[in-house]
C-alpha cells in the first residue's frame, strides 16, 4: 500500500463516503483480522472485532488524520480485541494471557506514576528507539502483534530458542530501563 492510496482512503473517510469502509476492508482486512485472531483465537469474534474496527475508524476520522493509516487501524483493532478478550477470558488461557504472564515482571505497579498515558508512551517509545531493529521487531511482534514465538522465528530466519533468549534479555533491559526512569515494577 502506498502513501498516496492511504491518503485517498483517509480523504474518503473525511468525505463520509462508505467507499472508505470498502477500501479499508480491501487493503487492510486481512491484516486487521490477523491481529484480532492472535488475541482472541476465535474466528467469529475476530470478524466482529474487525467490523468494530471499521466503525471505530469511521468515528475517528474526522477529526483524526493519521500519518500511518496501517498502524492507526491496527491499534484500533488491537484495542477492541483486547477489550473483547478481557470480557471473554473468564478462566480461559490464551496467548494474550501467556504474554501477560511473560511480561508480568515488567508491568508497573499501580502506585507507579504512569497514570499519565503520555508519559508511559514516551517511555516505551524511547526504549524501543534504543533497541536495534532486529531486537525491536522481535519485541514488537511478540508484545504488540502477540505473535507466537515459532512464527516470529520462522519469519525472521531465527531459531525459537534464539527468539526466546532475545525476548528474555529485552524484557530484562526494559525492566532495568523502567527502573532508571523511576517507574517501579
Amino acid at each position: 500500500m502506498t502513501a498516496v492510496e492511504d491518503t485517498e482512503i483517509i480523504a474518503l473517510y473525511w468525505a463520509r463516503s462508505e467507499e472508505a469502509i470498502r477500501q479499508t476492508q480491501l487493503q487492510y482486512g486481512r491484516y486487521l483480522y490477523a491481529i484480532a485472531q492472535r488475541i482472541l483465537h476465535c474466528n467469529a469474534d475476530a470478524e466482529e472485532c474487525v467490523n468494530d474496527t471499521y466503525l471505530g475508524a469511521w468515528n475517528a476520522m474526522p477529526p483524526q488524520r493519521p500519518a500511518r493509516l496501517r498502524a492507526f487501524l491496527g491499534a484500533i483493532a488491537r484495542h477492541i480485541a483486547l477489550d473483547r478478550f478481557d470480557r471473554n477470558r473468564a478462566g480461559k488461557r490464551s496467548s494474550a494471557a501467556m504474554i501477560l504472564e511473560e511480561f508480568a515482571e515488567c508491568i508497573p505497579d499501580r502506585a507507579a506514576p504512569v497514570a499519565d498515558r503520555l508519559i508511559w508512551e514516551e517511555t516505551v517509545n524511547r526504549f524501543l528507539a534504543s533497541l536495534d531493529q532486529k531486537t525491536r521487531t522481535v519485541f514488537v511482534r511478540r508484545y504488540w502483534y502477540l505473535c507466537p514465538v515459532r512464527q516470529i522465528a520462522r519469519s525472521m530466519g531465527l531459531t525459537e530458542s534464539c527468539v526466546k533468549v532475545m525476548l528474555h534479555r529485552t524484557r530484562n533491559r526494559f525492566r532495568d530501563y523502567l527502573g532508571k526512569e523511576g517507574i517501579s515494577v
Partner: protein, 620 residues
Amino acid sequence: MNGKEWLQAFGSIDPQYIEEADPTVPVPAWAIRRRVLRLAARIAACLCLVTVIGMLVLTVPFPVKHQDLSAYKDSPYYALMQSMDHYNGRPQYRNLLDLICRRYFKARTLGSGPDTTYSGDGSAEPAADASPSDPVFSVPTVRLGSYLYYADGCCLKVYRYGRGSLPLLYSCEAEEFAGYGPGRAQLLPDEQKGQLIMLFSWSDPDGQPGGSRTSLITYDLSDPARPRRTGTAITVSGAIQHARLTDGTVTMVCAYTPAGADYSDPQTFVPGFDSGTGWNILPAEHILFPDEACSDSYSVVVSLNTASSEITSIQAFYASEGQPIVTNDRLLIPRLVAGKGGTVDTELLIFSFGDGASLSGTVHLYGELRHLSGSDDPEEPFFAVTQTEQITPFSQAYQYRIRAYQIDPAACLISKEAEYAPFESLDDCHVFRCGNRLFLSFSLNLDYSFVFLDLSTQESDSGQSSDIFFSSTGEKNEAAHATELYFTEYYHMLFHDNQFLMTAKDTPEGLLLTAWTPGPDGTMNAEELLLEGIRWRDRGKIKMDLTVSEIHAACIEACAEEDRSKEFLLLICHDGSSFFLPAQEQLGSMEKPDLIMFTDTEIYLTDAEGQIIVQPLYAP
C-alpha cells in the same frame, strides 16, 4: 496498572515501530537465506552423522574364528596347527569396506587391464645340454647328443634331433599314473650314471588326502633311443617347482597346499613322502612355520642321493608363497608372515646347497613379494621388490608402497626401500642389473603407465629426480637416488630377465614391439619393430616366454587390426640385437603350443595332439 491496561498502553507505541514489525510483510531475503543456510547446515550435519555411522559400520573388523585346538594339545603338530589356524581362522576380508573395495572397486580396476597371466605348462625353462661339473636344473625338454627327450605328462617321448625335422622314436608312459593328469613333468639328465630323472606331478582323481604329489621316476639310458624305466625313487607331497642335480644328489622343491585341514587327521594337512616303505608324513621337527601364517601352502624341499635312493634331507616350510628362486649355490623360498598393523610381510628363507639343501638364513622384507631374482654368480646379490598395502585411517583409501631390496649372498640385507607410487598398485614388477647400475621397472595398475627407474644414478639426463631413495642398512653404503627414466602409456610386458625386457604396445599403425636394454650410461636402449595390421588382443594373454641360447621369445595372443575376431598366436623372438619371427608370423588356430624350443634358424612347437611343428625363423 494491570495487565490489560498495560497491553492497551503498549498498543499506543510509535506507529513506525508497528509498521516496521508488521508480520504480514513478506519474509526478507536475508531471513530466507539464513533459513536455507540453516537447512543446509542441518542436512550437512545429518550427512556427516550418517557418514560417521557408516564408516563405523564399514570399518568394524570381521571376527576371527579360531578353532578350539585344546583337544590336540598333546599332538606333536600342535604348534603347526596353531599357525595354520591363524591363517584359516582369519576373515577373508578385514571389514565390510575391505570387502566392497576388493569385490567391486579392485576387481574393476584390475579387470580392465590386459590379462598377463602366464598360462604356459612349465616350458619356460630352456632345453639344456647336460654338463657333469655344473648343477643341472630340471626342464621339460632335454637334449642329449642327437636325442631330444620331452616329458609329455607321465609319458617320456624321445625324438631324433636334427634340423628341419624331429621324428618321434620312442614313447614310454608310466602306466600307474595314466589318467592322473594333466600332470606337469620335468626332466633331469644324469649323464654320469647314464640315467634320466623325470619329476612328474600328479593328483589322484580318486582323491588322496592332501592334494597333489610329485614322483621321481628314473630311466636307464643305456640305449638312449629307448629309455628303460628303472623305478620310482620317491613320491612327495606337492607339485614340482624346481629341481637340480649335482654330484649325484637331486634337490627338488614342491609346492603343496592341503586340500582341507582336518586337525584330527595330520595326513590331511602335513606333507608326506613315500620312498618305498609306504606313505609317511613328515615329523613335526622337519616342518618350519611362522607363529602367524599368512598363506596355507608349503614348500617341500627334498634332497635324494640318486645312487642309493637315500633321502639326505627333507623339510617343509609352511606359509610359503610364490615361485622359489634356485641358483647354482642357493635356493630362496619366499613365505608370507604377519606384519605390523595387520599387514602382510615376506620372509625369505635362504638355503645353501651342500649335502642337500640347508637353511642358512632368513631375511624379513616389508610387504608382499612382487619380484625376486638372482644370478648364478655367487658374488651377485639377490633382488626383491615388495609392495605394502595399507588403508589410511581417515580417508580409508588404499595406500600402496613399493620397496626394492638388495640381499647379499650371506643373507644380509644391504640396501632397502625404494619407495614409489604410494597410491597405486603395481604389475609386472622386476629388477634387473647392468654393470653397476640397478634398474627397477613396473607398470602402474591404475593408469597402465610403465616406468623404468634407475636406482643407481643421482639424476636423470633431464635432471628430473623422483622421491625414490636407496639407502643402506648394512656395512656397504652405496646410497644413490633413483631416477625416473621413462614414463608413458601402457606397454604389455612380454619378456624380462635380469638384463633384458621386451614389451608390446598397440599403436594406430599396428603392434609396436620394443626390446629394452639398459646401457652403461644409464639410458634405456630401445629397439623397435612395428607389426602392421596386428594388435594385442583385448585382454590377451602371454602364453609363454623363454630363453634358449641367448634368444628370448614370447608367445602371445593377438588379432588382426581390421577384424578383431580373427585371433591367432604370435611368437616373437629376439637375440639381443634383432627381432625374429616365424615364417608365417601367426601360429594359426593352435590353442597353445605345448613346447617351444628353437635354434637360431628354426623353432619347434608341439601342437595339441603332441605333434611337433618346425618353422623357420626370419628377421623382418
